[in-house]
């Protein structure tokens, strides 16, 4: 396989192939039809599948999710788009209290094969309401599955898995990875939800990162290798359910861990990963599990501040060096 396509194209191809294969799949969201979506993730789909299956909706996030829930529970397989991840807050009840809980509340009799897609992450000077990484919120809600691909290959495989999944899933596209190129097979394939990828094996410290931070962490790891620091890099890919086993196994080997995410540190998903690591690998740990994340503030608009807000390669590197340098237990 040598074909390279972008993260957006990988998303688009997954949707297109599943729509071709399964006529119960449809898409709905703001500006996704005629315009192809503000990030062009849905480009060209209305041309192929028509207005009935690729639907421009009103600006009504609650009804967009409701559209998905009701259609999913009655035999369709909807993909609904919430333009920016920040806007899940507008539809939060439908996501948290309806989509996530319907199966359980109904004693199993409902099945909700719904995929919600949304654009997350910062770094575009899009300010406090268009830059958030809110994965911790949705990962706390039983009933949802959450994926966040860091590259085009994972994007296609995870998106395909989401569409075929019989439970509600949330696909977080990272806004700054949209143009990222990578090798992607033409035929459909799935990456099973809940399986992490170990991108780099290493002996000295385990770095767990997701979304755009995977790529930052990977580059830092390559650089540190030159200094003889051997970093294992794990991308969970699916944030809920989390592949804790792969993470814990790795830390049992390396005895040290650093977690990197773009979201605010306090009560971010990194806290859960750290808590689990110290629970499951306590006797193996030579240093506390460190977290590199955003500080406790809304996302600032000005690049002058946002660049300090987002975890940088420098901060990741420093955190890894600190943890590795710490005297072992």
């Amino acid at each position: 396989m040598s074909r390279k396509i972008s993260y957006v194209q990988a998303f688009n191809e997954a949707v297109r192939q599943e729509m071709r294969a399964d006529e119960t799949v449809f898409c709905a969201g703001e500006d996704i039809g005629g315009f192809g979506g503000v990030f062009q993730t849905y480009a060209g789909l209305q041309e192929e599948f028509g207005e009935e299956r690729v639907v421009d909706t009103p600006i009504s996030e609650q009804a967009i999710i409701g559209l998905g829930v009701g259609a999913a529970a009655t035999g369709s397989r909807p993909i609904v788009d919430i333009m920016f991840m920040d806007f899940i807050c507008v539809a939060f009840d439908q996501i948290v209290n309806q989509a996530a809980k319907m199966k359980y509340m109904f004693g199993g009799s409902a099945t909700v094969p719904l995929t919600i897609t949304t654009g997350g992450g910062g770094g575009l000077s899009a300010a406090a309401q268009h830059s958030q990484s809110l994965e911790a919120l949705i990962c706390h809600i039983p009933g949802l599955k959450v994926v966040h691909p860091s590259n085009p290959y994972d994007m296609k495989g995870l998106m395909t898995a989401c569409i075929r999944e019989d439970n509600p899933t949330i696909m977080i596209k990272h806004k700054r990875l949209l143009g990222m190129q990578g090798e992607v097979p033409e035929e459909p394939y799935m990456i099973p939800l809940g399986t992490a990828a170990t991108l780099r094996e290493g002996a000295d410290v385990t770095v767990v990162a997701w979304g755009r931070m995977v790529n930052e962490a990977f580059d830092v790891a390559e650089k540190l290798a030159e200094d003889g620091i051997d970093v294992e890099v794990i991308d969970p890919r699916t944030l809920q359910p989390l592949d804790s086993e792969t993470i814990v196994e790795s830390v049992r080997k390396t005895n040290r861990a650093v977690i990197v995410h773009e979201a605010v540190r306090f009560a971010g998903l990194g806290a859960e990963v750290a808590a689990q690591i110290q629970e499951e690998a306590f006797d193996y740990l030579d240093a506390p599990v460190a977290r590199v994340a955003a500080p406790f503030s809304p996302v600032p608009f000005t690049p002058a501040l946002e660049q300090h807000y987002q975890p940088s390669a420098a901060r990741i590197e420093q955190a890894i060096r600190d943890i590795v340098a710490r005297p072992g237990a």
């Binding site: 996030e61 939800l193 804790s244």
Partner: protein, 329 residues
């Protein structure tokens, strides 16, 4: 419209089934035999019955916190309903949903809902699915007067109209939301005034007159099936008991006179009188129905009481179609 005796008998039967179920539930609640909250439908029987006699099993409905009546009218059976209210394993929701989430997808009842207004977007989704599949079914959303003040209702109504979906909006205007009168929470008297803002027809019907409701529903359904989009039906009705539970608790939010006046217009008794006057049925016929259904209720209570509660190993069943390994922590 000339309704057949079969339909009239069916309407009556559904109303009596609701009344008996609700009265029984109220008594059980007063005897502290039902856990949780209980919102009784007594007084509003004509609405659910008039609507649901115009629907098929394949048509869907969404409901509210006051949902038993809707489920009974849609064809729900006493035994699994009563068992659900008692939190038993034999309940429709295996005891996991209770009164506020009672559901049965086999008869197209997509759940009572604990969140005011949240059912409407889900009905829109069911309607969308129907349109996509071209199956000729319609989805009806039941909701109260108070719930038309919440955003989800608005988004659902607008989206259904924008997409011309086969959806019926059934407002049960009982003049109160909990303990607060309608005129404190809106500056209009008739909910139907909202229909024009979405571009759908709206009609007020006497919510104590099952025939009027049935006829309005048939018309709205025909319109929806013809592809002309949704309609709003406002049924002016009243709940005879308190917002939740049975007693008015000496609450002063409505006068005894007002309650008494509405009780004069009891939807079942007035219907029976009309049928007898018209020579369509006799008092004996009706007595027979009540007696038969009373026996059914007693049997259902017995069934529910005899049923086991769910085993503790059911706690994590049906969160997902299959519980992922990583998620059980």
């Amino acid at each position: 419209m000339e309704l057949s005796t079969d339909v009239l008998t069916d309407m009556h039967r559904r109303m009596v089934r609701i009344r008996l179920f609700e009265e029984a539930a109220g008594k059980l609640a007063e005897a502290a035999k039902l856990p949780g909250f209980l919102h009784l439908y007594v007084g509003q029987e004509a609405v659910a019955s008039g609507v649901c006699t115009a629907l098929t099993d394949q048509d869907q409905i969404t409901s509210t916190h006051r949902g038993h009546g809707h489920l009974v009218a849609k064809g729900g059976e006493f035994k699994p309903m009563m068992a659900e209210l008692m939190g038993k394993a034999t309940g429709y929701n295996k005891g996991k949903g209770g009164s506020m989430h009672i559901s049965n997808l086999d008869v197209g009842m997509l759940g009572a809902n604990g969140i005011v207004g949240a059912g409407a977007p889900i009905a829109v989704g069911a309607g969308f699915g129907n349109k996509l599949k071209g199956n000729g079914n319609v989805a009806a959303a039941f909701f109260g007067d108070g719930s038309t003040n919440i955003g989800a209702f608005h988004e659902a109504a607008n989206m259904a109209c924008a997409l011309k979906l086969p959806v019926l909006f059934i407002c049960e205007n009982n003049e109160y939301g909990e303990f607060t009168a309608r005129d404190k929470t809106m500056a209009i008297t008739d909910i139907v005034d909202r229909a024009a803002g979405y571009g759908m027809p709206g009609v007020i019907v006497d919510g104590m007159d099952v025939v009027a409701i049935h006829e309005a529903t048939i018309e709205a359904k025909n319109r929806a099936v013809r592809g002309e989009g949704p309609s709003l039906i406002e049924a002016k009705t009243y709940r005879f008991y308190n917002h939740h539970g049975v007693q008015n608790l000496g609450l002063k939010y409505r006068t005894d006179d007002e309650v008494a006046e509405w009780k004069q217009r009891d939807p079942i008794f007035t219907f029976e009188d009309r049928m007898i006057d018209a020579g369509t049925a006799t008092r004996d016929d009706f007595d027979g129905v009540w007696a038969e259904l009373r026996a059914d209720i007693d049997e259902a209570i017995q069934f529910a009481e005899d049923s086991p509660v769910p085993d503790v190993d059911q706690l994590l069943v049906d969160v997902y179609t299959e519980m992922p390994a990583g998620a059980t922590s």
